[in-house]
């Protein structure tokens, strides 16, 4: 049946053709609307949305062909033969499509095509010239990457003779968490292409105004939400799959996603200033260019093998040259355009250093400083090895010592920002409104000082509580809770813009994540080698290894341990960590067992077996991870906050009519 499916869809050749067609359409999309916008030719400009949708349809067809080839086990396709096997479960045959270099590039292109079509669909209220230019820029980027896909990493390459079975996938990647991590992360990365395109279009037009800020911000917020979720999902995956009890390794690939997140967060904030006060225009345009440039370099420098990392599945220098040329073209070209055109943008409204704008500027400075530190730490080792032949590495201690001290003031001011008035503010009245937040955070400081070791976790705890409490204060203040009658408060809450709730929620989410991080620095673990029946003590719990037995799996052999965890004699949970031996791949994987009650994780890992029979001993790794789930929960709350502010009527992607008329008049 599945064979019929591919027959019907035409197989890999159709996929290849569709990809080439998409590339041609993208090329046309890059050129024609741009000419149209320059000559004010309405017909040429009207081509833009049609081409964007056409490109998406062609890309989707191409992607479906690849999925079809993977599902129907067409091993005459090199990519499928290398990464799939008959015995692989259906879900992983589908998700395995983007678990390798060629497939992931195609997915990347597909999401970029989706962005172009989304601008075409939701941007009906944009001025037609701006819309044409935005879609054209997206088309140009698309064309470049589809060319890369076609010329250097074609997923539809055939092999002859076709093998009977594929080589299968790395068992570590056979995991639902990893299956959905790349699409979400890529949507985040690629989503920043839209603000980038808006920035380039604005530079070509030579005009940035409040309306531009209002149009660009929802796209930036949407991309930011996806990137936040993608990073959190990746971190969660490494926590429960790799079995080290760690959640962030400061690996170059992880840093490559953190860097655009930091500048993207700055962009989301600086665009507010453009929208409300028409200030920071040049800076916001630069941030939009920078964020997408970091996304591009992040995804592709990693793939070219320039950064040495466990994540890189393609270490091919031939691709590297193409990628470097493409990056130089996109980043260099946009920065050159910026250098020529930015001076044309007029400076906007004035503001005092202490004001909402001033605090947003501070936010941007601190975020960019953190970003600079992370970039330095990530790029220094490859440059040292390139220039001086020295192999060094920069790990957690470096980033702890540099990024954390910069994040502390960021959190200190984060609480004040949303409450400070625009233009000119006095610090004292704002602080006076935060009195109970201050008390809450002082209590948190005091508690943390006694219960936590290390200066940084104590400071982080205090400021995290400060931010969460301030977010609550902000909302209760605005709706007049405890000040007005409950009915009045409710009606105020109903009319309060959703963006205000969104901002407060996102800030609280950041606080929750930091609380989780601070508590995780106090995690305890023990590594023991014991016989069955032994009881260990860790963090007030008694861990008893009750039994270890063999269990056959579909394509592996497992040994499973049963660990009873008791507190004061009461059974809390039974952990069943296991080790799986995949004979066909000569690989062993560790299956962690985690029990969570949202306040802490009990985390058990089974290591090697020594000896045999009744005298056999087993190595166990036991972890007590306080507040571990809060790290990812906080990220989810941040993303929900972003989504909530997206649903606000005022920032709806289809921009309000009034803005359109003012721009039309200005034009």
């Amino acid at each position: 049946m599945s064979l019929m499916l591919t027959e019907k869809m035409g197989g890999p050749e159709l996929g290849n053709f569709a990809l080439a067609l998409a590339c041609c359409l993208a090329g046309a999309q890059a050129i024609l609307p741009l000419i149209g916008a320059q000559r004010r030719d309405a017909r040429l400009m009207a081509l833009a949305p049609a081409l964007a949708v056409g490109q998406l349809v062609a890309l989707a067809a191409s992607f479906l062909c690849l999925v079809g080839a993977a599902v129907s086990d067409d091993f005459s396709v090199q990519n499928v033969a290398d990464n799939s096997a008959v015995a692989k479960p259906l879900l992983y045959k589908i998700t395995g499509v983007w678990g390798n270099h060629e497939g992931s590039v195609l997915l990347w292109a597909l999401i970029l095509g989706l962005c172009g079509a989304a601008v075409a669909a939701f941007g009906r209220n944009l001025p037609s010239a701006l819309r044409a230019r935005v879609i054209a820029v997206l088309g140009g980027v698309s064309a470049g990457f589809q060319l890369f896909c076609l010329l250097t990493s074609n997923p539809f390459q055939r092999i002859w003779p076709a093998p009977m079975d594929g080589q299968g996938m790395n068992p570590l990647l056979q995991d639902p968490g990893l299956a959905f991590h790349p699409p979400i992360l890529y949507t985040g990365y690629v989503g920043f292409a839209v603000p980038f395109a808006f920035a380039i279009a604005a530079l070509i037009e030579g005009r940035v105004d409040a309306a531009w800020g209002r149009w660009v911000r929802p796209w930036a917020v949407a991309a930011w939400c996806f990137l936040t979720c993608g990073i959190a999902l990746g971190s969660w995956w490494s926590y429960y799959v790799l079995g080290w009890g760690g959640y962030w390794f400061w690996d170059p690939v992880e840093n490559a996603s953190l860097i655009p997140w930091l500048t993207g967060t700055a962009l989301v904030h600086s665009a507010i200033v453009v929208e409300k006060r028409e200030a920071l225009k040049i800076w916001t345009v630069l941030l939009a260019i920078g964020t997408f440039s970091f996304s591009l370099s992040g995804t592709f420098l990693v793939r070219s093998g320039i950064l040495n990392s466990v994540h890189a599945f393609a270490n091919d220098p031939a691709r590297g040259i193409f990628i470097l040329a493409l990056l130089a073209l996109v980043i260099g070209g946009s920065l050159a355009l910026f250098a020529v055109r930015a001076p044309m943008l007029t400076a906007g409204g004035l503001f005092a250093p202490v004001s909402r704008e001033g605090l947003l500027v501070l936010n941007n400075i601190l975020l960019c400083s953190i970003c600079a530190v992370v970039v330095t730490g990530t790029m220094y080792p490859p440059f040292m090895s390139l220039l001086f032949g020295k192999t060094i590495s920069v790990g957690k201690p470096f980033f702890d010592a540099t990024a954390a001290p910069l994040a502390i003031p960021l959190f200190a001011f984060m609480a004040i920002g949303p409450m400070a008035p625009w233009k000119r503010a006095a610090l004292w009245p704002v602080l006076r409104r935060l009195w109970w937040a201050a008390i809450a955070s002082l209590i948190a400081f005091a508690v943390a000082t006694f219960s936590m070791s290390g200066v940084l976790p104590v400071l982080a705890t205090g400021f995290a509580v400060w931010v969460i409490a301030a977010s609550i204060t902000d909302i209760t203040d605005r709706i007049g809770l405890f000040r007005l009658s409950p009915a009045q408060s409710l009606s105020r809450a109903r009319f309060l813009p959703r963006a205000a709730f969104g901002a407060a929620l996102a800030h609280a989410g950041a606080g929750i994540s930091v609380l989780g991080l601070a508590a995780m620095s106090q995690a305890q673990h023990r590594i023991v080698e014991v016989q069955t029946g032994t009881t260990e003590h860790l963090a007030g719990y008694d861990w008893t290894l009750r039994d270890v037995h063999d269990e056959p799996g579909p394509n592996y052999q497992a040994i499973v341990a049963t660990i009873d965890v008791r507190r004061h004699g009461h059974l809390v949970t039974t952990l069943r960590p296991s080790k799986r031996d995949f004979a066909s791949q000569h690989q062993t994987t560790t299956e962690v067992s985690i029990h969570t009650n949202l306040m802490s994780d009990l985390y058990g890992v089974l290591g090697d077996r020594h000896g045999s029979g009744a005298a056999a001993t087993y190595v166990l790794r036991l972890h007590y991870n306080p507040l571990a789930p809060w790290m990812w929960l906080g990220a989810l709350v941040m993303a929900i906050g972003g989504a909530l502010s997206l649903s606000d009527r005022r920032v709806r992607v289809g921009a309000p009519r009034r803005a359109r008329t003012t721009v039309a008049e200005a034009a």
Partner: protein, 181 residues
């Protein structure tokens, strides 16, 4: 607030922010950089006992011993680059992909007696993949050059390195220990 004074404020704030970032970075670089060393380099120039390094090479076949102190499991093994071998002591669970005769990276410190105490042992995701730094160290030691084709597979590494490495190890430990081996 004039445009000029606002600009002054902004420049000051930026300089302060980036200055702090630069200061912190330089400070961290002086103490938190971890150098990669091959076993022969460790033998030739032992780093200070307080200096964390990454030691990379191949695990000598037949060198892995497992004991325990109390309930803590201790693994010991030799890491070689074909010229010299270093004994590594590690308290903990060895990673799933740890194999004798395959590449490994150990993070830790060199003690006064020349033994290496690892706080972390890394073996890569894929058994056919060799860490770039290990490959580089092997090339430097003259055991394998990428110019002459693919890296030798694990089995041939066993026979190729065991004798040399044992010899060097015996020499490094002095005659008495060497005979005991």
């Amino acid at each position: 607030m004039t445009r000029k004074s606002r600009r002054l404020w902004l420049v000051c704030a930026c300089v302060l922010g980036l200055g702090a970032a630069a200061g912190l970075t330089l400070n961290a670089f002086s103490s938190n950089i971890v150098f990669f060393m091959a076993p022969s380099q460790v033998r030739a120039h032992p780093p200070g006992a307080d200096r964390t390094i990454r030691l990379g090479g191949m695990v000598v076949a037949g060198s892995v011993t497992r004991t325990h102190e109390g309930e803590t499991p201790i693994a010991q093994f030799d890491v070689t680059d074909g010229q010299a071998a270093v004994r590594v002591r590690y308290a903990g669970i060895l990673p799933d992909l740890f194999r004798e005769g395959q590449s490994v990276v150990a993070v830790g410190t060199v003690g006064p007696n020349g033994a290496f105490t690892a706080s972390e042992v890394l073996a890569k995701h894929d058994e056919t993949y060799m860490p770039k730094e290990v490959a580089e160290a092997l090339r430097a030691s003259g055991k394998w050059d990428p110019k002459y084709g693919k890296a030798p597979d694990a089995a041939s590494w066993d026979t190729m390195t065991v004798k040399d490495a044992r010899h060097d190890l015996a020499a490094a430990r002095g005659p008495k220990d060497g005979q005991a081996e």
